[in-house]
């Protein structure tokens, strides 16, 4: 598969001037917005995005145009949220998009807002990205000054305000209803769906939440047409995807490749394989919440929604974590279970208690205090957590837990017969 010209999203990555309005405009930026506002109807924009096959890049992969179509046509007030909470372990692509090319996301957001008839947009950026909040704000200021935001944009009669909102450290605010609740000035706890935000979201009004990478693709689609986007990737996975790659490979970073690229090719050509002395043992392909695959399994996959699902995992956010032979799978799952336990918002008993149980049982194994029944107990706790809660965070803990157990069971079993040398693992790995 050709990777030539695969820079729909990443054309300005790594460039010192990529974030400036003048660079973006000189390279065709805001042309799509001018075209859309010069006579296109909102529904026509939705149709183009539907035809392009663009799917949400925040994790669930829901078709974007279809989601936009759920907004009631007679709604008086519609809100739009760009989800830049990016807190899924392994994921750091939205940061690159806003860092190197904020105007692409801003233009995409304006067009998306026009399509769903929103007049107020929020870009919700996780609080830890302090410098990025400042950068995005600067770009938004530039867009206002150039007349791309505010009242009567480019004389079209369409008006849009954009607020850069800074989060404050809570993974759960990445979940769309948690995100919306957070902006109302409350705890960012998810709400039961339905109603879906597209019908009743922020302040009870229709609200669309899209990932940064999703809206960033919109200007290219409008400029080049749905067919051109659809022509990249596979039948069910149109376009390109950003992969945030971490682990002891030669080249870590964010890579844009067409969907459908064989993993083995990506691994060899883009990542350069593992660093000397390391060997690939496992891969978490779509962020920490998806099932882990063994090296053999991932080598047989192509990087798209269908193939990864067939292999028993998910494309998720594209946060690809390469796990070397030298890593201890029990330690790694302890780190992850600590994360989900720490980030559970506490509303649902299976999630609040279950994540704590998983964290403590794995901690016990690491301390050398595990009993043979523990492995079945882990499984049993997982079965009591999956699919039973308000939001999918509970499932997000279960998927790595069960897949680690299933695929690397011998490493767990080895822990049961072991007695820990006093003071060996660090304090937090011991569960303190």
């Amino acid at each position: 598969m050709s990777r030539d010209g695969c820079n729909i999203l990443s054309a300005r990555f790594g460039r010192a001037d990529g974030h400036l309005l003048k660079t973006y405009e000189a390279e065709g930026g805001y042309r799509a917005l001018r075209m859309v506002l010069d006579g296109m109807k909102a529904d026509e924009v939705i149709d183009v995005v539907k035809e392009s096959g663009l799917r949400g890049r925040g994790g669930a992969g829901f078709p974007t145009g279809v989601k936009w179509g759920f907004v009631p046509k007679d709604a008086e007030q519609v809100y739009f949220f760009v989800n830049a909470d990016e807190s899924e372990p392994g994921t750091f692509k939205d940061r690159y998009l806003l860092d190197y090319d904020p105007h692409q996301t801003i233009e995409g957001t304006i067009i998306s807002c026009f399509a769903v008839r929103a007049n107020l947009a929020f870009i919700y950026i996780r609080g830890e990205f302090g410098w990025l909040v400042d950068r995005a704000q600067k770009a938004v200021d530039e867009a206002y000054a150039a007349g791309f935001l505010g009242e009567n944009i480019l004389g079209s009669g369409y008006s849009l305000d954009m607020i850069v909102h800074k989060g404050a450290g809570a993974y759960i605010c990445g979940e769309e209803t948690g995100l919306i609740n957070s902006v109302t000035g409350t705890k960012g706890q998810p709400s039961i769906k339905p109603p879906f935000p597209a019908v009743a979201g922020y302040l009870g009004k229709p609200t669309i939440v899209n990932n940064v990478e999703t809206v960033a693709a919109v200007p290219w689609i409008m400029n080049n047409g749905a067919a051109a986007y659809q022509a990249t990737g596979t039948e069910k996975s149109a376009g390109t995807k950003l992969w945030s790659v971490s682990g002891p490979v030669r080249n870590q970073g964010v890579f844009e490749v067409p969907l459908g690229l064989p993993f083995a090719e990506f691994y060899r050509d883009e990542l350069g394989g593992m660093i000397d002395g390391e060997e690939l043992k496992a891969c978490i392909v779509g962020g920490s919440s998806v099932p882990v695959l063994t090296a053999d399994e991932i080598m047989g996959c192509t990087l798209d929604y269908e193939s990864l699902q067939q292999a028993g995992t998910m494309l998720g956010s594209g946060g690809m974590i390469l796990i070397p032979k030298s890593a201890d799978m029990v330690e790694l799952i302890k780190v992850l279970m600590h994360f989900y336990w720490d980030e559970s918002c506490g509303q649902c008993t299976p999630c609040r208690e279950g994540t704590g149980w998983l964290h403590r049982i794995v901690g016990r194994l690491l301390k050398g205090e595990g009993v043979p029944e523990d492995l079945d107990l882990l499984d049993k706790v997982c079965n009591g957590m999956a699919g039973l809660t308000i939001c999918p965070l509970s499932d997000a803990a279960v998927m790595p837990m069960q897949s680690f157990l299933q695929r690397f069971r011998s490493e767990f079993e080895a822990r049961i017969h072991e007695t820990a040398a006093p003071g060996s693992p660090s304090r937090w790995a011991r569960g303190e």
Partner: protein, 181 residues
């Protein structure tokens, strides 16, 4: 109505007060402006004191419970005066694979404190945090608005040495701000 007692008790600059007024009119509801108003105060004063809670309650016309709930739900809001330099080290999976545990052990030794503690002089605090969105750049330390990335024990020592002299070295994420000026 703003209570004049608490309004004077809170040493907030006019610029910050103006910004809070602007936020109130920019967001669709006062309560929606709660997080950015907390940020405005914390960025200026370092933490949210009881006087700041009073101020927020009054100026945004929200209940005290609402302010407290938001302050405690989000990990980045501080309700106690923090150490001068709060070093937040990612201990999640990618950083763990890339050596975060060794880095933390090293920092604990160098600072003579354990994770979660503050040095007796109040200069350094060492916190373990969850994924910072720098996974391919790890191990990483967050200090305020910036990240120090691709850390080794040597680079961490250099950072500590500088901070001891109150020199905040250029962070890996500083690059962008410099280009603009």
């Amino acid at each position: 109505m703003e209570n004049p007692d608490t309004a004077t008790a809170l040493q907030l600059s006019d610029a910050a007060r103006e910004r809070i007024e602007a936020l109130k009119s920019r967001y669709p509801t006062y309560q929606s402006a709660l997080m950015p108003c907390i940020w405005t105060i914390q960025e200026e004063l370092g933490w949210i004191s009881p006087a700041a809670v009073d101020f927020l309650t009054e100026t945004l016309e929200v209940t005290r419970a609402r302010v407290q709930e938001v302050l405690t739900f989000y990990t980045m809001f501080r309700t106690e005066e923090p150490a001068e330099y709060v070093l937040e080290v990612c201990q999640n999976i990618s950083c763990h694979i890339l050596g975060a545990r060794e880095l933390i052990a090293h920092l604990e030794k160098r600072l003579g404190i354990r994770l979660g503690e503050t040095t007796p002089d109040g200069k350094f605090a060492l916190h373990g945090v969850e994924c910072l969105g720098a996974c391919g750049h790890g191990p990483v330390i967050q200090l305020g608005k910036h990240f120090y990335e691709y850390l080794t024990t040597e680079k961490a020592d250099e950072l500590l040495e500088n901070l001891r002299k109150d020199v905040v070295p250029r962070a890996d994420t500083d690059r962008q701000l410099e280009e603009d000026s």
